[in-house]
Symmetry: C2
């Protein structure tokens, strides 16, 4: 089996590749080839036994998708995207990478299939950014995609294309709407959602973190570990069970900032909690107020997707995976 990861240098792409490297029987057939694609050189895990090839290219450039698809991978993970803030700031780049890049990938698969039969499995990363306020208390599987950002628009269009290409049998596609990933490893960044991770990650290593919103703010979370679990499960699932609706809101944990902090206190003590500095920022509070807070993900649940059910579990996953089990 030949596995292609597009966006392999990103946080989730690297974790997914490491998971593939640690278990060559992950998808039933032995994984004998792995192709890693990104706009920067993707790292190759040392423990990878399959033949690895890296390609540094941008899918939205002429012929790039054709070059990749000419290798005829059996399983494709498409994680590449310009993130929300950048897609909002740079209209052309967002549409070029997130919409055109995705469509060119899908078209390259169709063109390859016209040359000789080819119908890979394709796992597409979407986002809860396809939803825009006003929301019901819990967003169900039948709720409309009405994005309030260009990024969300591009992801919603990707979902529609994924469904149509799958319906026509051009590939076997599944889209995963990821919750906000928390605790996101690495350094604090300027993303409006960054504080959800910062207020846990930094205190766990004895550093201060800034909280710009009220403790009552509620949002929708899954750990990086849960996200990788979604990808693996999506790659193994019998997709005929999906019917024509090919994208699923992934399960997650609906929790308030206050619940995050309480879990931090239980696991790391009051000293860690005292490292959270409250600095209300009305601009961030306003952005976050437009984000979804809770989902009813019964379709994904019934298909066997699983996420954390409490913030303690989510923090422990971070301690295990990023801090070698120690705080």
């Amino acid at each position: 089996m030949h596995v292609l990861v597009i966006g392999a240098a990103g946080m989730l792409g690297r974790k997914l590749t490491e998971r593939i490297a640690s278990d060559s029987g992950l998808f039933g057939d032995d994984i004998d080839r792995v192709t890693l694609v990104d706009v920067i050189e993707p790292p190759v895990p040392a423990e990878l036994s399959a033949v690895a090839r890296t390609m540094t290219l941008d899918l939205s450039e002429d012929g790039a998708a054709d070059t990749v698809i000419a290798l005829r991978p059996d399983l494709i993970f498409h994680l590449a995207a310009i993130v929300s803030g950048e897609a909002e700031a740079d209209f052309d780049k967002g549409y070029r990478v997130n919409l055109d890049g995705t469509r060119l990938l899908f078209e390259a698969i169709r063109a390859e299939g016209l040359r000789q039969p080819y119908r890979p499995r394709l796992v597409f990363t979407s986002s809860i950014a396809v939803f825009g306020a006003p929301f019901p208390d819990r967003i169900g599987d039948d709720f409309l995609a009405a994005p309030l950002t260009s990024y969300g628009t591009q992801k919603a269009i990707g979902e529609l294309l994924l469904a149509d290409y799958s319906r026509r049998g051009l590939f076997d596609g599944i889209g995963l709407r990821l919750p906000t990933i928390c605790i996101r490893p690495g350094k604090p960044n300027k993303a409006a959602s960054g504080f959800f991770s910062n207020i846990l990650r930094e205190p766990l290593i004895g550093e201060e973190a800034v909280l710009p919103v009220e403790d009552s703010v509620r949002h929708w979370f899954a750990s990086p570990r849960a996200a990788i679990g979604f990808f693996i499960h999506a790659a193994r699932l019998d997709l005929a069970r999906l019917g024509p609706r090919r994208t699923l809101s992934m399960p997650g944990l609906s929790a308030t900032v206050g619940e995050e902090i309480a879990a931090l206190g239980r696991i790391a003590g009051a000293k860690a909690v005292r490292l959270i500095r409250r600095e209300p920022d009305p601009a961030i509070a306003k952005i976050v107020a437009g984000w979804p807070a809770d989902f009813d993900t019964r379709r994904a649940n019934s298909l066997g997707f699983r996420a954390e059910t409490g913030f303690d579990e989510l923090i422990r996953a971070h301690i295990d995976d990023e801090l070698d089990g120690r705080i």
Copy 2:
């Protein structure tokens, strides 16, 4: 005021142009220029007092949209599309015309606005084909777009782009999801939905018509007259009232084939009803079973959009508009 109609040679495009020609004060300001665009030469109504220009071109061709938008129309009606059956049969043509053509139009407006400030109003024609079974009994304004055809996919993508370009202030857009138009004037055609019109239109002129489904089949209708009313209302409405969700399911009439036939009997007598020949066609019955039957269009209603409320009214509109009031 300069009005542009794209798709001006189609059934609705012609009726819209005739309506514009009959009332130059239709949109408040005097209409002094009208540009009519289609892939075939659009007819110019004799009674049009504005300066008319026709352009025979395909929006999806290089530079075509730029040529049209260089004229800087104030109000744009975008009705051009490859219909459902053809978009399903010809994948490339459907995506090229319905997706790329629409996006090139939107991009041409953005590019013109970068040269000098420009923010026209744009009325986009969408369709209930953006919805796919399974449905609730009535499809509400929050129900997801999950199309089961490439045409529906292309229209749903157009809606998303319309919302994003409007949100960014690049134009002031509104999308109208039209019900199935009934009674569609002209000759019987091979569209799967054709019989809904045929079983009324043909008997009204003494001709036989074939009914391929059960009398209990329910569907969602509006007359051509109501559709033109939607376009005019959309062009006049304060679009700030829409908020970020820029496309609306238009009001219509939910009725069964049996109710159609009963109305025909009331208006044209038992002799007309006897011209309907029942020839069950399981293939058509199966296609139609996947179509929406009823909508809750409270957003459009509250914004003042109006359609027929009974099939008698819908048949009388046809007799007035197509048969000079006589049967």
